[in-house]
Symmetry: C2
Subunit: 253 residues, 2 copies
Amino acid sequence: MNLVLLEPDELDADGTATLTGGRAIHLLKVLRVDPGSTVRVGVVDGPSGVGEVVSTVDGKVTLQCRLEQPAAERPEVDLLLALPRPKVLKRLWAQLAALGVGRILLTNAARVERDYFATHVIEPSTWRPLLLEGLQQARDTRLPEVTVHRRFRLLVEDELDELVGDADRVVAHPAGDDGVARVVSGFSRRRVLLAVGPEGGWTPFELALLERHRFVAAAMGPRTLRTDTACIALLSLAHDALRTRQAGTGSRL
Amino acid sequence: MNLVLLEPDELDADGTATLTGGRAIHLLKVLRVDPGSTVRVGVVDGPSGVGEVVSTVDGKVTLQCRLEQPAAERPEVDLLLALPRPKVLKRLWAQLAALGVGRILLTNAARVERDYFATHVIEPSTWRPLLLEGLQQARDTRLPEVTVHRRFRLLVEDELDELVGDADRVVAHPAGDDGVARVVSGFSRRRVLLAVGPEGGWTPFELALLERHRFVAAAMGPRTLRTDTACIALLSLAHDALRTRQAGTGSRL
């Protein structure tokens, strides 16, 4: 835990917050804080700064917070993900938040098993703590927005423009001519939406629908990856390409 | 499972192999093979090809194999990894093999907890099946070579040249001037060795030792990642940069 995340209602008007449970245990047992110690703190979707431990009594930790840094920008990459196996998705939530993703759109697709939608893994009570864990790892306060879409065609045809607006769009697919990094480097908009299909792949109909709606196919090499590995790889490549592009732009100024 | 991997001694002289256990269950229950079905097969560190199911009796599956493709080249990326928490390493093995890595050198470092070396996660009986699982996912037959090094300085000063020979070397570090993809793109040798430190980072002494031994620091962005996420991200970036470099070289010929 590289940042202690507070819910907005945990912060009192005088800037103090008293933690119990997992975060208090981590502060006491792993970081071994004492009164006077300082830790990084942040508020979910809000500012961040420094918290000074003012007391550690009965397993509770009280912090006096100075939150002087405004909330960071939302990460520039969004993810459209065909709902993976519950076990895979459960492993993935924290890592997605750690890598940085603005929105996670979970969608149905022809090769998604219907019963995946019945699991608790897509309930906010499951994913919210896991996303917060990832944010605390990566020192971010911006909680990804998560939506679940049971009708793929409706999502792509009618809802996507409103949800992700002005983003360049990539679909990971073995038939792509170029790699993901090269495709993203060639984009010009500020945001990128990455689409990752089910383990069995998109159907030809789904792929054609995506391509009609501005998704560019990009390859990820000859190896078939598990959905979670593929998502991490793709997000890393997209973020790296965006950073490199920005650095390049900066050096020309 | 996108490839059925056989141990060399499972293959009879006439090209048949009879599977029991996990692979047989997967073939019967998930892939639902019948006599006449064909599946991709490969031999560990050997050739690959097609297996035709000739019988499915008593939960055993017998395949008649034609292995016409020679063993693939060893992946061009090696990994020097400070031993992570056992839970993290356990999750990582299959993903490393799936992404493609020639060698995995597990090393001690100042911020590695001593008791990590006592776990079964670094025993071949744990990692071999997990690496095979990753190879079967990625359709590769080349088992990464794994070695465990309890003395970091000895490894870097005396053993590394022999173990990884003529490889360009990168150490992931926030202070790197350039991103990993850019650093790897600028390399000229055929192989790349990536070094990933412990969760608490390399010490200044360790980092200086690595830099004296040809490791170039490369940054991975502002977010602090868990070791497993970082390894997947790094391997993806390195492979992508090598592929892009090769594609670029090809087009100039």
